[in-house]
Amino acid sequence: MLEPQTRLQIAKNVAAKVIDGEAVVLNLVNGMYYSTDGVGADAWGLLDRVPTIAEIVDAIVARYAVPHAEARADLEALVGELLQENLVVVAPVGNSTGADPEESPPHKARYQRPVLNSYRDMGDLLAVDPPMPDLEDLSWKESDS
């Protein structure tokens, strides 16, 4: 179980863009890509600040009409998936850029449990060069002089 004070940051070799309320996230190492919208996109957007899990929960609760416990459970599950997929990592102490607590808007948005969508069809997309076999057992060979 993740501690509320666990601080998170976006993993190296991950590229992401949030557009019109949807976050598109790409793992540049393994070619997997992901999307999440609504609450999930908002949570992703907070990661630039290197927040704690508690800070993410508080920010979501400030924006959406949801009980704190429900938001915490859902966001901890989302964070668990992000960690498992190597999209975020636990940040070293002192990495936070800091942010003031959010003020709630006059009308909170309707809450929906965040869902992370993953896509495994990158192999079809990277057909730029001729298909490449696995490189794991690549070995060197001295050429003829």
Binding site: D20, V24, L28, G31, E85, R120, L126, D129, P133
Partner: protein, 366 residues
Amino acid sequence: MNEHGRSGARPVVDRHATFEGHGTFGVMVSAFERALVRHPRGLRESFYTFGGRTVRLRVVGEDMAAQIVRPFAHLRLTSAPDAAAELTIDLWDEQATGIRRQVTSFDSDRPWPSVVALSADERYVAQQQSQTLTCLDRVAQRVVGCAVWNEHISVYERGKPMTRPLVVWHNDRDVQIVHAGLVAQGGAGVLFAGRSGAGKSTCALACLAAGFDYVSEDYVAVETAADGFLGHSVYSSVFLDREHLGRFPHLVRHAITAGASEKSLVLLGDVDPRRLARIVPIRAVAFPRVANLSASRIRPASRREALLTLAPGSLLALPNTGVGALDLLGRLVERLPSYWLELGRDLKTIPERVSEIIADASLPPA
């Protein structure tokens, strides 16, 4: 988590091996210089514009010199430029010159179609294919390479030489290479993006046949400009399988096959060089997809749909340059209109719909 795509499938990604870049590059340069000394009459020098920058190409070996430039012929400068080249490419033909590459290489007994290697400091990028080896020094802005140029060279090496070094070089200049097609009409370009097999090549070639200006069907170098985005051509070559050639029978007589390759190479400079464009402004993005229709049709795509469709296919560069690519693509879909282009069986309707996209994209926003 919701999973989409082949369950348990492992994506094929742009993974690379490592190699000792500085030493390898130095040995290659020495070998090129020996080839030049031994065969001075075999040197052919020419200049090109890649990504809007001047590139100098020197090849030792007459036959290789005549053939390897054909995919770039439309980018050739007619006279030596006044300004210094921003990239120098030095190549030699091992067979014609008798000068071997003399570097450690990947296990050539394996049937590796293409291996990419990166030095530990990421300064050097090498690509080895069945009969060619090229290496880029990103600091010196120089490519040095060699090939055994004979009848056994693959259509990939012949049609799109030096792929990885050129991708990295473009990206280093913030001219991001993306996996897309690009055609233009009246100076307005439409970028075809999406998965392999979605129909990008079909759209680009159908438009070319209808008189559009043609930039690419698979690689476009995208650059941010003051008033939008520019698409630069890289190669004028296409690889077509039998099905594609059946759809474009006028290309059959230009098809080059080699060995057991499943695809044929067509150098479009042989087909209609007047229609090959070096650079066009991009005014819209279209996502082809095959539909059970007689005639093609278009409908607007949301920016969310556009980014999710466009972004994954942009990862052509080595790791840590994908961040820049995604940022550029995000700006592209934020600023340009996007459309689904549902492809019908009548290919002639594709350019008709693309013309409609151009007309629609030129309208002021509501």
